[in-house]
């Protein structure tokens, strides 16, 4: 499970969610088009920007990144917009960094991607 903050929240504002389809379009000489879907369904992607985290919250996220080995691992993620749980998600990048500007002033960004199942 993706770690939650001490408030119980997963994300902070500004929160970003992306819906991704994959459509192929073939355009013919007469200008008409034929479109078809490459992927069977939409995929979700969440950009989680977090600020003013304390060291414990950062450590939990860091531990989560290490245990997942970056993009390799998979986990379930609950969309904070509608409460839907997506059972097969991964981190979107092989890097995880944070900046500590002072005590309880940590800042980081994570991307969570839904995997095709």
């Amino acid at each position: 499970m993706f770690p939650t903050l001490k408030t119980g929240a997963v994300m902070q504002y500004p929160a970003k969610r992306t819906l991704q389809f994959n459509t192929d379009a073939i355009r013919f000489l007469d200008g008409t088009e034929q479109r078809f879907r490459d992927n069977p369904s939409v995929l979700h992607r969440w950009t989680i920007q977090l600020d003013l985290l304390d060291e414990s919250e950062l450590a939990a996220l860091d531990e989560f990144f290490v245990s997942n080995q970056g993009r390799f691992g998979s986990f379930s993620f609950t969309d904070p917009w509608d409460g839907t749980t997506y059972p097969n998600c991964s981190l979107g990048a092989d890097t995880f960094g944070f900046q500590l500007r002072g005590e309880m002033r940590g800042k980081t960004t994570l991307i969570v991607c839904e995997n095709r199942t």
């Binding site: 970056g70 390799f72 092989d94 500590l100």
Partner: protein, 261 residues
Amino acid sequence: MFYFPQLSSGATGQFPITRQRSARTVVNQSWQGYQVKLADPGAAITDWHLSFAEMSDQELAALEALFQAVEGRLTPFTFLDPADNLLAWSEQQSQAVWQAGPLLTLTGGVTDPMGGTAAYQVSNPTAATLTLQQSINAPASLDYCLSVYARSDQSTQVWLVRGSATEAQAIGPVWTRLTSAGQLQDTADSISFGIALDPGATVDIFGIQAEAQTAASLYKQTAETGGVYPNARFRDDALTITTVGPSRHSCELDIVNVEYL
């Protein structure tokens, strides 16, 4: 043994501190969006960007001495992460990195002060004092702070073990964070941290943490690796120092830990 020096305050770094971990995953993606992934744990990299301001002549001399001794990025040294708990498996005292005295009983799944069940109950049924400790490969001469949450149904005491220093602290039925900090006159290349229990004592413990500084920061959970990096190097062959007055130096540097080097 080369190691990154502490400032005169006992701290290893100043704010802001930036740390980045990088993994390597080989991904084969099909046209339909399905993915086959392969992890490459040996390629993991951790790097830190550290900024130092208002360093004294002595602090700068220690940093320069290390930089010259390791010849820039050539030779590795031990780096103690200023933003991490130095102990591995901080919530799993049953792991092999923890050395428990014979007959010391450990029971996991106990309610912890954070609302979870990651605490351990430790009992000493013998007639001798027994220890639960972990040794790290870091110089014993540095400033360290050991902290642990502890409670007991009876009023008793727990010994905090910080290298050759032991310190008894009283506990009761309420979770209390105990700390033991200081510097030892010890030139060993390793140091142990843990607790010791008097004969017959039963204590609940949680969140054991060691840090290379003089006071405890918020508890940070760790798994198989703690914040000790014995294979760290300077990222660059150049170290630039800015001096704005007598004994007022500043510099920025990058440290990288690469497991496969």
